[in-house]
């Protein structure tokens, strides 16, 4: 049933499109006349066009059944149920949002308060830390000076002894 090249003067896609369009009666008059001329000389297209015509009329026989009379009513009920659910979700969101607002405001205030408090204590620590360090450093310096004084005395005593020997 497939298309074999070389047996028809038309390109595969063009021929298929013409066959389908011819069976569907959707070709414009010029293309239809041209295709009918082609059919006279091409047995393959002739056969396929006849088969496509048979398919077309067979498909025509398939008429859809009548729609259920309660289709619209059922749909209306489903839409109403959907709207009810949506409105409930909206109401719930509204309900949950209303007390959430002051709670969020209080939380923000508390958070701000604690943040500021933390910053204040941190600043205090920073401020007190250098003075304590300076005090410690001064104490260390004084201790070092005392030690140096003691060592200096010993060194000067050693120098006077060696001078005498010379």
């Amino acid at each position: 049933m497939g298309w074999s090249p070389g047996t028809c003067s038309l390109e595969d896609g063009v021929a298929e499109e013409l066959i389908v369009g011819y069976a569907a009666r959707s070709l414009d008059p010029e293309a239809e006349l041209g295709f009918e001329r082609h059919l006279k000389s091409c047995s393959r297209c002739q056969r396929l066009a006849a088969q496509q015509g048979a398919v077309w009329s067979a498909l025509d026989a398939w008429r859809p059944p009548a729609v259920s009379p309660d289709f619209d009513r059922t749909l209306a009920l489903r839409i109403a149920a959907s709207r009810r659910i949506s409105s409930r979700i909206y109401a719930f969101a509204k309900w949950i949002w209303r007390p959430a607002l002051p709670v969020a405001a209080i939380s923000a205030v508390l958070a701000g308060f604690f943040l500021l408090k933390d910053q204040h204590t941190a600043r205090q620590v920073l401020e007190t830390q250098p003075s304590a360090q300076i005090e410690q450093q001064v104490e260390h310096a004084l201790d070092d000076m005392d030690i140096l004084k003691q060592i200096g005395l010993d060194v000067s005593a050693q120098r006077s002894d060696s001078a005498r020997k010379i």
């Binding site: 038309l10 499109e17 959707s26 041209g34 009329s57 859809p64 749909l75 489903r78």
Partner: protein, 213 residues
């Protein structure tokens, strides 16, 4: 170059008939988009109008896709429910029917994918059930009716053998009379991909149904 005198430009089927009819359809396009915009503004009556205009097309499309009327109606309800739910976000950037059939196709393909693992027998039962649902034509004799039902069963079976995307393309092309471009927009693929889908599908159908001539 072409012995039959069919130049490519001429040979290319121009879809003038569909294009011409689409001029009339453009009015519907504007009307549909306008109605949907009014639905967005809260006009419920416009939704009812849209439902009346497209209800049957959507149900019939889904019925031919899933081959089960009850499922088709259930899915069609879901389609219109989604249209209603998304009304606030609706932007008339594409044709309303393209959007509508895109939702329907998406739901139909998903259903086919999920139902693929079900028992074959169940599907056959549904199919038989589906064929028996057809309203009997009073003008046909019992014999003609039996022949018709056998033919219908064969058509349904042939359609059922098609891969789901091919099936969707054929149903939109044959029954909803959508052009290649519109089918491509619904299936979100290129026009050439749609042509390829359709031609392969029709080739399969020719193999299965050509003897019915």
């Amino acid at each position: 170059m072409n012995p039959d005198g069919l130049q490519p430009q001429v040979a290319q089927p121009s879809w003038d008939r569909r294009v011409n009819s689409s001029k009339a359809a453009d009015r519907f396009l504007d009307r549909d988009a306008d109605l949907m915009l009014q639905v967005r503004e809260g006009n419920q009556a416009c939704f009812t109008l849209l439902l009346e205009r497209h209800r049957n097309a959507v149900i019939h499309f889904l019925d031919r896709m899933v081959l089960n009327q009850a499922v088709a109606e259930e899915l069609a309800q879901e389609v219109f429910l989604r249209v209603y739910r998304f009304r606030l976000n609706y932007q008339p950037t594409a044709k309303f029917t393209t959007w509508l059939f895109r939702i329907a196709t998406h739901l139909g393909l998903n259903w086919i994918r999920d139902a693929r693992h079900e028992k074959v027998q169940e599907r056959l039962d549904q199919e038989i059930d589906g064929t028996t649902r057809q309203v009997r034509d009073r003008n046909r004799t019992i014999e003609q009716e039996l022949v018709y039902r056998a033919k219908l069963r064969e058509v349904r079976q042939a359609i059922e053998t098609l891969p789901s995307k091919q099936r969707a393309a054929v149903v939109m092309h044959k029954y909803e009379e959508l052009g290649y471009v519109e089918i491509a927009n619904v299936l979100m693929c290129s026009e050439s991909a749609v042509k390829s889908l359709l031609f392969r599908a029709y080739e399969t159908l020719r193999m299965r149904l050509a003897h019915m001539a």
